[in-house]
């Protein structure tokens, strides 16, 4: 699973966020998801999907080495996380979350957003070229 996106297909519906928060947290709360479709309105009238590209910027800045690459994804060892927030500041897409009372959490490429996106605007580049119709 490698997430990829086609911004111009996105309609801003947030189904991806719902699928993400339900899957990763068992909570109905799009604000606690690891993907951010952002609308730019009234002009220019489009969406940009911010998602985890597994770029590793978070791992680069983590002072305790809590974030490391496991297979295709960057993973967080919660035992090592000291909740300093360096990764949050470093993430270019604002999809690293550090909520009150929690350790840092990020996308693990679980694919739930891909399954739920009505437009296949977020998709798995291993198996698809994106777009549903």
């Amino acid at each position: 699973m490698h997430l990829a996106t086609i911004d111009k297909l996105c309609s801003g519906c947030k189904a991806c966020q719902l699928a993400c928060s339900m899957t990763r947290r068992k909570e109905v709360n799009p604000k606690r998801s690891f993907i951010r479709p952002e609308g730019r309105f009234p002009a220019p009238g489009d969406y940009i999907i911010k998602y985890c590209t597994q770029c590793g910027e978070c791992a680069n800045v983590c002072p305790t080495g809590a974030i490391s690459k496991k297979g295709d994804i960057y993973d967080i060892d919660e035992d090592l996380c000291i909740q300093c927030g360096a990764c949050v500041a470093a993430c270019p897409f604002s999809v690293m979350l550090l909520l009150d009372g929690e350790k840092a959490k990020k996308c693990n490429a679980c694919g739930a957003c891909v399954a739920a996106c009505p437009r296949a605007a977020v998709y798995d580049s291993d198996t698809s070229k994106g777009g549903r119709y």
Partner: protein, 616 residues
């Protein structure tokens, strides 16, 4: 309570005070949510005879128990008030992201009461409510208002605004949200304007409790997958509601020239395909929607980019056909004007078409207006929209809607005031569609299509027969408003054939107990009858006489096109009404019987009718 945030937020804009109240379980059980909550609130808390613009009227906004949940198109919110347009309970639904955000902030309903002395924006951030001075925004258009607030408060606030029409208490002023979604009908924007509430901004960080999160995830994924497998997904979504334009013309139901006729020559130039070819820049979905019908468009006007969400079908029908605007760019520009001024495009189009016809007939004159106006002329449209929103000159009268304007103007103009109960008729002519006709005649808020969209039933079952038409209208008035109770959009069911059964698995996952549509239909019927009773309490003699369509539809045959020569005369309307009242358990006067009210548990309604001598 699973599915519910569990609280109601009551805001007094006069006292600048607010209170969080626990949601009453009985209210949730009997009225489910959404439209059920807001209408019940108005019924219970706004005294009969209150001035819609006075301090005793209230505005309520409620998502439903499925709003914000992982369910297709769970993004609806309902607004309700005592309507200035109709004098009875008015409500209107709105898509976008506002409803779910109310839930995430922790509420199942917002209640706005009192009147503020100065313009105010209500800023709701979870448990906090801030009364932000809105003097700088007063007089500004909806777009600028929302843009300014997003900049000041942050992009993750969901914002509802009114435009100048709302501030000036135009009877069909709408509420705007997300640069293009509206709660358009029944003038709720005007009531916010009277309260000096320029905008409501909401942000929420909470989770919505559900009985079984694993089941919600599983069922939700399944429901989305089922939507994706529907051929309608790819067929219907690209043009959205605008795609129906050619069909409505082909069946002779397209409002044209103030409903003088029902086929618009050149409709191809203002339909969905023209939009796609010329102006659409992106699809813009409501919350959780698999079939985003929202089309966001850009056009050039005098060298500048103009953005608008839409036009959707109703706007195409009422600004395009009914006012005869010939090009999609004209319709889109008129759409943007209405949105920015805060005018409902349905009533706005109907009122402007009415004014154009009055002008043709010499009932409104050039001397009164200070200029000529003509059909299909965007300049005339812009002029009229502006004087209405600002209530200047003749606009001051037109701002009260076609019924009041016609009664003041005289010359039998009430004949072509296309309204029922004071609410303007929306985008389907029904002179050759009896099920659609009775649907409009009896819709509880006035002539609106969303309670029962029965024209496809007419086309399928025979357009001249009256048989079974009222029955179908009642069925649809049960099913469609049921969506308004749960907080979901109905278009997935209507347009891509997403089966009703699908939702029941989600009800169980969310509520933790078996709930069927039947349970919700009972609540929908309860609400329908309660609203009818309230209308009887509110308006002396209310009943059958308030259910007839405008004379034009009973006496003037369609002038041209596929429905040429058709009408549904008064005797046929009577037959439809007799059938309808029978189906509803109402008497010949159109009043719910005691038995009907008892069966629905509406004992309070019975007491009030008795107290006023309206029931034996």
């Amino acid at each position: 309570m699973n599915g519910y945030a569990g609280y109601i937020l009551r805001i007094d804009v006069g006292a600048k005070a607010f209170r969080k109240e626990v949601l009453d379980r009985k209210l949730a059980k009997d009225f489910i949510g959404g439209r059920g909550f807001v209408d019940k609130l108005i019924y219970d808390e706004v005294p009969v005879g209150a001035d819609p613009f006075g301090p005793l009227n209230k505005v309520a906004a409620a998502p439903g128990p499925l709003s914000g949940i992982f369910t297709p198109a769970s993004g609806k919110v309902q607004f309700g008030t005592l309507s200035p347009a109709t004098g009875i309970i008015g409500d209107s639904n709105m898509g976008g992201h506002f409803g779910p955000e109310i839930k995430y902030a922790g509420y199942d309903m917002l209640i706005i009461e009192g009147v503020s002395n100065t313009p105010v924006t209500l800023v709701i951030d979870d448990d906090k409510v801030d009364f932000k001075d809105a003097s700088d925004l007063w007089g500004k258009g909806s777009f600028e208002t929302e843009e300014t607030l997003k900049k000041q408060l942050g992009a993750d606030f969901q914002i509802a605004t009114i435009g100048p029409a709302g501030e000036n208490k135009v009877y069909f002023a709408c509420i705007n949200h997300d640069f293009g979604r509206q709660a358009g009908r029944t003038g709720i924007g005007a009531v916010l304007g009277a309260k000096k509430v320029k905008a409501i901004a909401v942000k929420g960080s909470k989770s919505i409790p559900v009985a079984d999160p694993d089941a919600v995830l599983k069922v939700g994924m399944n429901l989305y997958r089922k939507c994706f497998e529907k051929p309608g997904l790819a067929e219907w979504t690209p043009l959205g509601t605008a795609g129906v334009t050619p069909w409505v013309n082909e069946v002779g139901a397209f409002p044209t020239k103030n409903f003088q006729t029902t086929y618009f020559e050149g409709h191809e130039k203002i339909g969905g395909q023209a939009m796609k070819d010329k102006i659409i820049v992106t699809d813009k979905g409501c919350f959780a929607c698999p079939t985003p019908c929202g089309k966001y468009s850009r056009l050039k006007k005098e060298g500048k980019d103009v953005y608008v969400e839409g036009p959707e079908y109703e706007t195409i029908a009422m600004l395009g056909g009914d006012c005869m605007l010939p090009e999609i760019e004209d319709v889109a520009y008129a759409n943007r004007l209405c949105d920015d001024l805060g005018l409902d495009t349905i009533s706005g189009g109907a009122v402007i078409a009415f004014a154009l016809e009055c002008f043709d007939k010499g009932i409104i004159t050039k001397e009164q207006l200070g200029r000529d106006i003509s059909w299909g002329d965007i300049g005339s449209f812009e002029f009229l929209a502006n004087i209405i929103a600002k209530r200047q000159g003749m606009g001051d009268l037109l701002a009260m809607g076609t019924r009041i304007a016609a009664n003041r103007l005289g010359h039998d103009s009430i004949r072509f005031a296309t309204q029922v109960k004071g609410l303007e008729w929306s985008g389907y002519d029904a002179r050759w569609a009896p099920a659609m006709m009775i649907s409009y005649m009896t819709a509880d808020i006035g002539a609106h299509h969303n309670r029962s969209w029965a024209i496809t039933f007419d086309v399928a079952k025979g357009r001249d027969t009256l048989e079974g038409k009222a029955k179908r209208a009642v069925e649809l008035q049960r099913i469609r408003p049921a969506f308004d109770l749960i907080g979901c959009c109905r278009l997935q069911w209507v347009e891509i054939g997403f089966e009703l059964e699908n939702y029941e698995a989600m009800f169980e996952a969310v509520f933790g107990e078996r709930t069927t549509w039947q349970d919700i239909y009972v609540a929908a019927d309860r609400l329908w009858n309660m609203n009818r009773v309230r209308a009887m309490l509110e308006i002396p003699g209310f009943g059958r006489d308030d259910d007839y369509p405008p004379k034009r539809f009973m006496e003037e045959p369609v002038l041209s096109g596929p429905a040429k020569g058709k009408l549904i005369d008064r005797a046929s309307c009577d037959r439809l009404l007799d059938d309808y009242y029978m189906e509803r358990g109402w008497d010949k006067a159109g009043h719910p019987t005691k038995k009907t009210l008892e069966a629905l548990g509406l004992f309070g309604c019975i007491d009030e009718l008795k107290a006023r001598g309206l029931m034996a």
